[in-house]
């Protein structure tokens, strides 16, 4: 995998503030999710056509605008969980536990399950390499971690094709994930950096928080697909380019110019606010 300048810079900053000589901290336990920001996006979900703040490439935008939620009527698609780069976004109450090598008392792996569909992920801490290009991809990918001071840096590859938002923007199977796990008292912060050379021109960076919650428990989450709408074999839900009638609704309702609604790397940065104000003032649709 490759690191962008952003990722390398973040690693350098973390190394400088790494701090504690005792390094590893205990990340295990039951963690209740704290949703301070992006609540609508993480909860009920974004509107069709809202790609604001996503650094989509031209390919990524076409993919997003072609997406149809009728996809979920196809039985083979119904039991797809969130991939690892989206899963912590929510719903993401979390259980974390460790594997310990008894003679050395070294933690050789961390295990993680998420509330949504009880996906199970392993973060290997024993220095093993990532598998070959021919190995299968999974929803949780293949993760290895190493400590930088008291921060855990996790690299994940071999992730199945997934999504960066639940209204169409895809993340290809060439994507990768870097996470920084940081514990402050009983609060856990994970900053994640999703990179995708196909659908993103820059990384998607998110930070999420959890609070240690010993009373929290996962419930079982078995999924079995059902046919609720009789579709012909091979039905694939999609909109032809330029023919999605739903994507204009968001920008019309909120008065957002189309350029802003379509996201793009420029829209990630604070200075874009001035450009957006100017576009709105100029009556740009």
């Amino acid at each position: 995998m490759y690191f962008t300048r952003l990722t390398r810079g973040a690693l350098a900053v973390l190394a400088l503030v790494g701090g504690s000589a005792h390094a590893q901290v205990d990340l295990t336990g039951m963690w209740g999710q704290l949703v301070h920001s992006d609540g609508p996006d993480r909860g009920v979900g974004p509107d069709y056509g809202d790609y604001t703040g996503l650094p989509l490439s031209a390919a990524g935008l076409l993919r997003a605008e072609s997406w149809s939620d009728q996809k979920w009527t196809v039985p083979e698609h119904q039991c797809e969980p969130h991939p690892i780069d989206y899963a912590p976004w929510g719903p993401a109450g979390m259980r974390v536990w460790s594997e310990v090598d008894h003679p050395t008392q070294r933690i050789t792996a961390l295990h993680q399950t998420f509330q949504w569909m009880i996906t199970h992920r392993v973060i290997y801490l024993d220095g093993r390499p990532h598998p070959s290009q021919y190995a299968p991809h999974t929803w949780m990918g293949f993760s290895t971690g190493k400590w930088i001071g008291d921060k855990l840096v996790v690299n994940t590859t071999h992730i199945k094709e997934g999504w960066t938002r639940r209204n169409g923007p895809a993340r290809s199977d060439k994507g990768s994930l870097t996470e920084f796990w940081m514990r402050h008292d009983n609060v856990l912060t994970i900053t994640s950096i999703t990179e995708d050379p196909v659908y993103l021109t820059e990384p998607v960076v998110r930070s999420m928080n959890w609070q240690l919650d010993p009373g929290y428990q996962h419930g079982p989450y078995p999924c079995s697909a059902r046919v609720e709408i009789d579709r012909p074999q091979g039905f694939v839900a999609h909109f032809l380019p330029g023919q999605n009638p739903l994507i204009a609704e968001f920008r019309k309702n909120l008065g957002v110019p189309i350029e802003a609604a379509q996201g793009g790397a420029e829209s990630l940065y604070p200075e874009y606010e001035q450009k957006l104000k100017a576009m709105i003032k100029a009556g740009k649709k």
Binding site: C79, M117, T119, S132, D173, G234
Partner: protein
Amino acid sequence: MVKVSLKRRTAASAVVLTLLAVGAAAVQAAQPARRGQAAAPAAAPPLELVTEHVRGNIYMIGGDGGNVTVQIGDEGVLIVDSGFAQNAQALLVEIRKLSKKKIDYIVNTHYHPDHTGGNAVIAPTGEFVGNVRVGVAPRAAIWAHENVLTRVSTSTGSVKEPLIPAQGWPSETYFTASQELVFNDEPIQLIHMPNAHTDGDSVVFFRRADVIATGDLFNTTMYPYIDAAAGGNINGYIDALNRIIDLAIPAANEEGGTMIVSGHGRIADEYDLLVYRDAITIIRDRIADLIARGMTLEQVQAARPSLDYDGIYGATSGFWTTTQFVAAVYSNLKQAK
């Protein structure tokens, strides 16, 4: 015998010659370069074979043209496809790391030389009990749909010799919808998928291990190669993908369960196949819509109907480019109107 028009034979020979060129070094021992064949590229990339365990007694060897599936057991070894001819010895070395037992069967998913090229080298090293005759050297049985035998055994266009030497031709063929085998206590089904990648495609379903080898009906790294001159068609391709999806059952959360060995690329499962099926169907639908609006091929190419998938499956050079894929789909759909 199947009669093939001169135009189709010429087109088929172009495809075949390109595949041979991609195989890097000329097929010297088994198939000397002849007038009319394309010259091999100057420098071949170093061969790196990678073996991955699929499930149980099923393995995949990647890196030699098409992926090779290997089933091992007390009875012997069965392989699905045999890679390029020039890499056959290296493939044998890799197989022998998995099992020293005799190779009883080669099963070919289709006729292309990156999947059949090793037949002539590997088959004589094996032994199928049904082939044992006094005074005849033992050899493995080579199974394939009968159209594979037709394609590899007949000369095409300007190539005067058959595609692969006679000792690599399928010795056992079927012409019905499927063929059953049992080997190493494993029921194995060869299922014909008509007019998809070619007119002789088989998927190989290891029913106990729950593994499907798809040949080039499914690749994780490239668009479907529609060998139209050999009966390939985009609609047949999509039908085949849908039939394979019907065979596959995931374990949980649309992951695992039936494992799928692709023709090129990684080991996969139903979801990966679903992503591929969806992509190809969407591109076909877009091209069909553009044709319905009266666009020429040039206009369709300019509209870039595959833009959002080119970064995953597309290519701008090599033996099968995005441009060629779009043109093939366009041609198939125009002919179907």
